[in-house]
Symmetry: C2
Subunit: 528 residues, 2 copies
């Protein structure tokens, strides 16, 4: 039996576009396939958040399923298609909506997902109903196909129920967001599922970026003995053909890329898809000579061509000559032209306004913040001019600590580093430089500073504090943390206060690229 | 039996503070009471979002419950206290967390909430476990107390189970956010619950504002016959004493305030508590001579004294003399001093920067947006100077349409009108002026304009479009809407596109004061 794993990149909410892609894939691979499998929610795309049970979207999907059915039957062969969609069932005058695996062959049949997730970015339990039973679908030659959807496979009971029905092949369609797992970890989890089933097992996961959420793909297949027989492709579309007759015969050894390589691939996918799906061609970046903007510029250079990158360095009297020098070197390394313009006259005009109108000199925090906000304004000017996206250069540690200026350096359309601790940011920079010094060593080695006043440096020891700040962000208790983290408990309480006070800033952030299980603003909701 | 309804205003996450208030209330009312009832989650406060099952918070509550128990017993009378808290139960090495009604008398016993909500701002089903059974607690003289928590009362099955146990008195502790219901509507719902129970019935609802969410109180009591016997107090703390012996004997007639009066009370509570709970004393408002900033200035004047209001009018050459005149009249009416300062020199300095550094004249959208952003900067300067909160003057229709400038007029710490349609904003202004013309009539009558270029007026017919824009915001289908709303379907499709494109702005808003069932950013998550 020949199975095509169609790991396609869908568009959340664009049924028309997804349908076209699905039909194109079927057209292209039908002749070589007995079964073509698409991801969970392939027809509607994911995540849909509050729109999962939106009637118009579901009606579009019903129409799409009919079209695919018609197409499959017109092919005149025993082709089967499994694809994810939201389906509606009417009982009395009540509609129920399901996360379904639609099995399209001669007929159309469905399996409805039973384990509806209600955590992180997934809120299916809010909008959808649970399916009532596990079942199998007939395959040619009396064989049986079992279907699982996403979190169904986390339930030992459901796996046992499916095993009891003795399927020859089980397909799990999935829509699992990337949360930092390596290929190795992902495969271990899949192996555990296969072990519980003891059948041939295919994993078909969504791939692509959607509003800062990255679906990593990594679709693959296992023999009945649990032998991995397909090199998973992560972070990009992949259409792979598998022959169940030769299952296991031609697969040599698994490549597992280094963690930081996978992280970079994830970030690149997230950024590129964010641009593409929002039809944005240009990026704007404020370069400071610091580590965060340096990595963002590197990511930008990977995502779009140099003429679509608007990089600008905007000093005041507080910025050191070294910052300019390092910014220029960085831009040169990446082949990007760097605009340079002092904002000192603008700063002075605000000082004049404060003196004349507000009757109060611009000083202290006001004087620091206005510099960041002037820069924010200029970046947005450029964005307005070119319909471009401003990258927000913040990292997770700074966001947690509130070490950033609202409407200043906290602006932007996407925050690529916002889910990485400052220490991870440094490690990532070193990894980027492994083959070639893209990021000037001086940027990695210098002391972090916002350069908003004379002699300012970041008032944190990131090596010591980054981990504990992350724990505090999610409600960690300073007293409990004091047992595992270095530093006295006064210091921890002070950090905890700071993190708590900073939450209001996190509520006004652009979407953060999700790279860990707990991401600011992506499936999380911090209180008070 | 004497019951004290302690409709107290708690602080989400501040167990220490809530405990103190609960203990003070018990001290003060113990001598007159047989039973004192506090709201759902009284000890921890609500909403807690991701922190509902935070261990440190639960341990604080366990300690607090012990203290209250000790206190109640030390009083040497048969006092009972019912209060809401999150409780933990250990089974094996797994902890379960419950939304509980803790019944404190000689012993401590609990009822665990069974219907865990998973909608709007409430995500209890994510973090808490459901209780397993309905039960009653012994009252003096062999009588029985039934307890319900919040959404439990939405379940006919649970109401029937409780009725089967023949309670003499049922108390529902609640934590229901205000969503625009009138007192009359709220009481009708309570009557339906009482009708299903046919016992004495007490509703005890949380009151207070928390991060833009308003709990409206409205606690009250019914006789076994369903007769309302207590005037509910909404939108403020209230400690009320009821005698079950005289139930129904001294209550004359219910006052139901006008809708806009209740709406204003809700908004005032939401704003005042936002300030108080975040320890902010001062407000900053950019006054434009338009309707939205006029209402916000009125609300500010109700919330804090004039010397704590920093109102500023910041014209460019595009602002009409009428705008200044109306702004001055408004400030005068409200007894607030208005600062006035042209931002023209700042605008010109940005024009110079664009010419010199960006090599592109500042024009079109860039030229419009920068004006809003300069104003945003100045408002934030003032906020930084006085540790004050900037009010965001947007209304729901403009937010839905994206008719606002990110980091410009969309800045702020709280958005009081963000859940009201433009048409409601006008109606509210007229209501405010009923007794006295606080808001100059000219502001209500003039055509809405952002005044960012010559002769600009808002490109919408709000009377015609406000309702349909609201429907589109939540995923309404233009085709379906065309059947019920005036206007051709091309116009609706255009509005739908606009609303969809505007969603990225809504993701970076300050907290919106929740006044309807569906509020931007408060318990809602719009996709793609």
């Amino acid at each position: 039996m020949k199975v095509t794993l169609a790991q396609i990149n869908t568009h959340a909410g664009d049924v028309e576009k997804n349908l076209q892609k699905i039909k194109n894939t079927i057209s292209q691979y039908a002749s070589q396939s007995d079964l073509i499998v698409f991801p969970e929610m392939a027809l509607c795309g994911a995540p849909l958040y509050d729109f999962q049970n939106q009637l118009a979207l579901v009606l579009q999907q019903e129409k799409g399923i009919k079209e695919i059915h018609h197409m499959v039957n017109a092919l005149g062969k025993n082709l089967m298609v499994v694809l994810g969609a939201i389906q509606r069932e009417e009982k009395g005058n009540q509609s129920s909506y399901y996360n379904s695996a639609v099995v399209i062959g001669k007929d159309i049949s469905s399996y409805h997902k039973q384990q509806l997730p209600n955590q992180g970015i997934k809120n299916e339990a809010r909008y959808l109903s649970s399916g009532a039973e596990m079942k199998v679908f007939p395959l040619p030659q009396g064989k049986k196909l079992g279907v699982l959807i996403g979190e169904d496979a986390n339930s030992p009971e459901l796996l046992a129920q499916l095993k009891d029905q003795n399927p020859d092949l089980v397909v799990r369609i999935n829509s699992a967001p990337f949360e930092g797992e390596s290929s190795g970890q992902r495969i271990q989890k899949l192996q555990a599922i296969q072990k519980a089933l003891r059948s041939n097992f295919i994993e078909l996961n969504q791939v692509g970026g959607e509003g800062g959420i990255i679906f990593d793909g990594g679709s693959t297949a296992f023999t009945t003995e649990g032998k991995l027989l397909h090199q998973p492709t992560r972070f990009k579309e992949a259409i792979d053909l598998i022959d169940t007759e030769t299952f296991g015969s031609d697969f040599s050894s698994l490549e597992t890329p280094a963690y930081y390589d996978e992280l970079l691939s994830a970030m690149q996918l997230g950024l590129k898809d964010y641009l593409e799906k929002n039809k944005i061609s240009d990026l704007v970046i404020g370069v400071s000579g610091g580590i965060d903007s340096a990595i963002d510029l590197y990511l930008a250079a990977q995502a779009v061509s140099p003429e679509h990158i608007h990089a600008i360095y905007m000093p005041t009297a507080f910025n050191s000559p070294l910052s300019l020098e390092l910014s220029q070197k960085l831009a040169e390394n990446l082949g990007i032209s760097l605009q340079i313009g002092t904002i000192q006259p603008l700063l002075e005009e605000y000082e004049t306004f404060a003196d004349k109108v507000l009757n109060r000199p611009l000083e202290g925090v006001s004087h620091e913040n206005i510099q960041a906000r002037i820069r924010g304004n200029i970046l947005m000017n450029i964005a307005n001019d070119y319909r471009a996206l401003v990258l927000n250069n913040s990292n997770k540690t700074e966001l947690a600590l509130g070490y950033g200026t609202l409407y200043g350096d906290l602006i932007g359309g996407l925050c690529p580093l916002g889910d990485l601790k400052k220490t991870t940011v440094y490690a990532l920079a070193k990894h980027i430089n492994k083959e070639k010094e893209w990021i000037p060593q001086g940027i990695i080695e210098r002391k972090a500073s916002a350069e908003l006043r004379e002699g300012q440096v970041d008032p944190f020891d990131y090596e010591r504090d980054a981990d504990v700040v992350d724990a505090l962000l999610w409600g960690g208790d300073p007293q409990t943390l004091a047992e595992t983290y270095p530093g006295d408990s006064d210091h921890l309480s002070e950090l905890a206060q700071r993190v708590k006070r900073a939450r209001f800033k996190a509520k006004q952030l652009p979407p953060v690229l999700k790279l860990t299980p707990q991401t600011i603003g992506q499936g999380t909701q911090l209180p008070y």
